[in-house]
């Protein structure tokens, strides 16, 4: 049935040319994974550092000391060590401990080393624990924002997905087209009744076939290595990925529609992509930029892509709830495609 379908044949040609070039396969699939790994390691959450606190056991009432020790030990940041005599002085001076607690008749003495941040930190921690014991008002309930879904890697991974969708779409399409034009492969197509739309669609679709698995590999990698989960539905996430791949390929068609050399196309690509890498919230939220430029930033395809991906993955939003972003993405795919079709240079 597909044997003599031009769209099918053109796509098959693209796929074959792709997988028969092992170097290309390596760069497309391994490079994003290597990058994710490097970034993941760099931004991985450090384990909580524990602070050692000495407590003198041979002064004050032993009952009170035991109670205090138990209270402090409940705080997972503190490592409580019982000492005797003046041993704590030596240990504090040599940095073996960050804080010393000595009970006296009047209450307790806290000894810190003000030049060491962890010492000050220990002091505040101990004070907080002690005073909470004394005063029950107001009730303080402690929470920690460290469950999966709110770590930096959880924020970063959707941004990386967006970045890969953009890079894959623009580079994949732009490079292939400029290369075909440089090697004068397009001219022979022009002499056939092949529909130009079929040709451009085949480039777009084949690009999507490469990018979608690539991005899914990145997702799987994030899940296995860093336990990054998707709060929304798999369907929504996949739809967004496919839409993003299509959108950025459309943009890639436009960028490469007239470039005569690889250099021109590289320059144009960078011109289009660099600003988005910076403002579209890959590594940090795009809301940090001034209010005045927000309308422009929000209208960029990568911002829409990242916002939609984070909405689904982090907040569990549905497609309906990210329809604004979907609309922006669809526009960025469709309009450039139509323009590219009109102004495409075949020689």
């Amino acid at each position: 049935m597909f044997r003599y379908s031009p769209l099918f044949q053109l796509m098959m040609a693209r796929l074959r040319e792709f997988y028969r070039e092992p170097a290309a396969v390596f760069w497309v699939y391994c490079f994003p994974l290597l990058m994710a790994m490097a970034l993941g390691i760099a931004f991985r959450d450090r384990p909580i550092e524990r602070i050692t606190v000495d407590i003198r056991e041979d002064a004050g009432s032993s009952e009170a000391i035991t109670k205090l020790k138990a209270t402090l030990a409940a705080d997972e940041r503190l490592e409580v060590k019982g000492v005797t005599g003046d041993e704590w002085r030596k240990r504090l001076r040599s940095g073996k401990t960050s804080l010393a607690i000595v009970a006296t008749d009047k209450g307790i003495e806290l000894w810190d080393e003000p030049n060491r941040p962890e010492s000050v930190l220990a002091r505040h921690a101990v004070e907080a624990v002690v005073y909470k014991q004394v005063s029950k008002e107001p009730a303080v309930d402690e929470h920690h924002l460290d469950e999966t879904g709110s770590r930096y890697i959880d924020f970063l991974l959707p941004g990386l997905l967006g970045m890969n969708l953009m890079g894959g779409g623009l580079w994949g399409v732009g490079y292939v087209l400029a290369d075909m034009r440089v090697r004068k492969l397009l001219k022979r197509f022009l002499a056939t009744p092949m529909k130009r739309r079929d040709f451009l669609l085949s480039i777009m679709f084949s690009r999507m076939l490469f990018t979608v698995p690539e991005v899914c590999a990145l997702l799987l990698f994030g899940y296995v290595m860093f336990d990054v989960k998707n709060a929304g539905s798999v369907f929504s996430l996949l739809t967004l990925i496919i839409l993003g791949a299509a959108s950025f390929s459309g943009l890639g068609l436009l960028v490469a529609s007239r470039a005569k050399t690889i250099e021109t196309v590289s320059g144009l690509m960078n011109l289009v992509m660099l600003p988005m890498y910076i403002v579209s919230g890959v590594f940090f939220s795009s809301e940090r930029f001034p209010e005045a430029v927000q309308p422009i930033i929000q209208a960029l395809p990568l911002t829409a892509m990242n916002d939609a991906l984070r909405g689904v993955m982090l907040e569990g939003k549905t497609l309906m709830e990210v329809r604004g972003e979907i609309f922006v993405l669809a526009g960025w795919g469709f309009v450039p495609f139509i323009i590219a079709l009109k102004i495409f240079r075949w020689r």
Binding site: K184, L185, R188, A191, T192, R347
Partner: protein, 312 residues
């Protein structure tokens, strides 16, 4: 019925400093069922003319009709009915011969099977080879396979046999002949005179962007006045004027180029003895002597005073 190709006052000027006038007012009519050849030296404007007819370049001015249609309005229909082999056809490196031909087949609403097209150019053995692994002649045959796979009514072949070995060339001649015998039209360019004489019903000799002679190969040769050529060179390369030979019996014209004399003669058996006498009188001795039938090459030399192959 409209002619297969009609082209009137075709002009193509490439902008630049100075601008290149590749085609300067070219007129041609190619009838349906004809095999038509464009002959001419390098840079004569053959490829440019062909690419304008194929709709790959826009003419600067002039009128072109293909199968009674024009490129402005009916480009898509024209493309369905023509097949093209470019002077240098570039195809994707890492596709096999069969994949390429199948892909081209898919662009046409009707056509022959891909394998059939491959068989016609005798590339069956290479059907599974990558394009990049083909020899120059095999690539040329693949280009022809892509040209015929859409079963066109009109075939454009730009130097289809350049680089082919004698056997492949004869095979390609057979393809072109059977194509024409099926009532279809072929327009080709070539640098091989024997090819044009054997294959083409009519030829146009093109020089500097204009048609300088048009007719069947036999007509053009007959127009020389003589069917035979005597070529000779002399020991020691003396600076003899060619004119002294032009008055010999049965000699129609005489010329000399880099020490090689050429006489167009009607009856060699009258001209040869007279030539020998003349040389004896001048005290010259022959280094080489050769008589042969006149060819289209001689037609060109006669018209322009230059050789066809190295006319720049």
């Amino acid at each position: 019925m409209p002619p297969a190709i009609l082209c009137e006052n075709l002009v193509k000027t490439f902008p630049g400093r100075p601008p290149v006038e590749a085609v300067k007012g070219l007129n041609l009519t190619v009838n349906i069922g004809e095999c038509f050849g464009l002959l001419g030296p390098n840079g004569a404007g053959k490829t440019t003319t062909l690419e304008i007819l194929e709709g790959l370049q826009d003419p600067t001015s002039g009128r072109v009709e293909i199968l009674g249609m024009n490129w402005a309005g009916q480009a898509h229909i024209i493309r369905q009915r023509i097949g093209i082999s470019l002077q240098e056809t570039r195809l994707a490196d890492k596709l096999t011969v069969r994949e390429v031909v199948t892909m081209f087949r898919s662009f046409y609403p009707n056509g022959i099977e891909a394998d059939e097209a491959i068989a016609r150019v005798s590339l069956e053995e290479k059907a599974r080879s990558y394009v990049v692994k083909l020899s120059g002649g095999q690539k040329q045959r693949l280009a022809v396979a892509c040209a015929i796979v859409g079963d066109p009514d009109l075939l454009f072949l730009d130097e289809p046999t350049t680089g082919l070995d004698p056997q492949s060339r004869r095979q390609l001649w057979d393809i072109i002949k059977s194509f024409r015998d099926a009532g279809k039209t072929v327009m080709l360019t070539t640098h091989y005179m024997d090819e044009a004489e054997r294959l083409c019903d009519r030829v146009a000799v093109v020089d500097k962007g204009q048609v300088i002679a048009l007719g069947t190969p036999n007509e053009l040769i007959a127009r020389l006045g003589g069917q035979n050529i005597i070529e000779f060179s002399l020991d020691g390369d003396p600076a003899l004027d060619a004119d002294r030979f032009s008055k010999l019996p049965s000699v129609i014209s005489a010329r000399v180029q880099t020490g090689q004399f050429g006489l167009t003669v009607g009856e060699p058996h009258l001209a040869l003895p007279a030539l020998m006498n003349e040389l004896q009188r001048a005290g010259q001795s022959l280094a080489t002597l050769n008589t042969r039938h006149a060819t289209l090459e001689d037609v060109f030399v006669n018209l322009t005073g230059r050789q066809l192959r190295d006319a720049d």
